[in-house]
Subunit: 241 residues, 2 copies
């Protein structure tokens, strides 16, 4: 339809990169794009930490669950919710509200998606690294984050050295509701989608992975989801009230 | 640089729209774009509720703090974190983790930003409506959201009937850190930025609004930030552990 929509629809995560660096002016444009995103109540509570130091990269790659592309990508940045900046401007700021955590997570993601799409529009690729939340306290310490700053996710960026298929997403019929949340799941649509995901994994793994989406999320949601996150947030002064 | 980057950098919120509707095929493309975004661990825990019903629109416009464009925009959609879908597939799913709230807020925002940028690339405009979190329980009830579904923000979309300036954002020097979080705020950069914001408001209001960014966030953070949000999340089965 146009370049923006084509870029959006062509998205797939890239986890293998060439050695080609991202030029400084290009990186600067990507950061400008990040910063141009909407900000809830103009509060601008997001910081981005660009990690250049090879040793820190290697440590984060490990802390994120051994994801080597965190170390090998041309660029790796961490999106943080940041109210420390505000506290320096207004030492009596009322912080710790759960609402502020939500604002921060949402605004960080709006910025990151601008950054990733701008990169993809230039032929770069990337992948989000939620895995930094495996060890959020260690990542925070490594990057010297004070109280009222917390890492939300990382983003690897670089020139792609692979060309994976796009992963099939849930169809609109299961995601879009009209006027009321439709509580009854359309099992027929789900079955069709499950089969599509199964075929995607089969084709991508040469037949080795045989799993539907329902099976995958069942496995995921049978386990605890980073049960330490609530305490971590509290320790950083987030969601205490 | 290219259409995608030009679109991203030209962003400004649109709050006044013409009466022109968004054609069904265009809206469908915008939803496809939303769904194409990255999803943390492929968990796909976001639903979008399109609100067509005029009475519901009017009620939400009021609940969001009397924002009339919620009622008058060609389209208004609500982005929700949704684990009810997963619960129907896996009734024993482990839910309530704070981590899942974070995943949901992040993934909702990634999807929404795709949707808004795709719209902007087609000459449409929009504005996020965080104001639905003024009365999240009422909005949830109005749209029949069950437990494990919560509204995060809304998005108005339509053809612009205004042409506002872009609002100046914090400069890279205050947002981008390298290898370590820089705890000491650059007061000189901040003063420059504060002046830029003051000039923006002066020019936009014909001299009526005289406020820097520091003054604005000081006013915002002197007040409580939706102090009911923690209890609301708990009531919907989110962030209980």
């Amino acid at each position: 339809m146009n370049q923006t929509i084509d870029t959006i629809l062509a998205h797939r995560s890239i986890r293998r990169f060439t050695a080609e660096p991202i030029q400084a002016d290009v990186l600067s444009t990507l950061f400008d794009c990040a910063i141009a995103a909407s900000s809830s109540s103009f509060i601008q509570c997001v910081s981005i930490i660009r990690v250049v130091d090879a040793d820190k990269r290697a440590q984060i790659a490990h802390l994120a669950g051994d994801q080597p592309y965190v170390a090998s990508a041309a660029e790796f940045v961490v999106f943080c919710v940041d109210f420390h900046r505000h506290l320096q401007i207004h030492p009596e700021a009322q912080l710790g509200f759960t609402e502020q955590t939500l604002i921060g997570a949402v605004d960080a993601a709006l910025m990151a998606q601008n950054c990733l799409l701008a990169a993809e529009s230039l032929g770069l690729g990337g992948v989000y690294i939620g895995g930094i939340r495996n060890n959020p306290a260690e990542v925070s310490a490594l990057l010297d984050m004070p109280k009222h700053v917390m890492p939300v996710f990382g983003l690897c960026l670089g020139y792609p050295d692979q060309n994976p298929e796009s992963k099939p997403r849930l169809p609109q019929s299961l995601v879009i509701h009209q006027d009321s949340y439709q509580q009854e799941l359309d099992r027929h649509q789900l079955a069709e989608y499950d089969e599509k995901v199964r075929q995607y994994y089969q084709s991508r793994t040469g037949g080795n992975k045989d799993m539907s989406w329902s099976e995958q999320i069942t496995a995921t949601l049978t386990k605890e989801a980073r049960p330490f996150m609530k305490d971590f947030l509290t320790s950083k002064g987030f969601s205490t009230k």
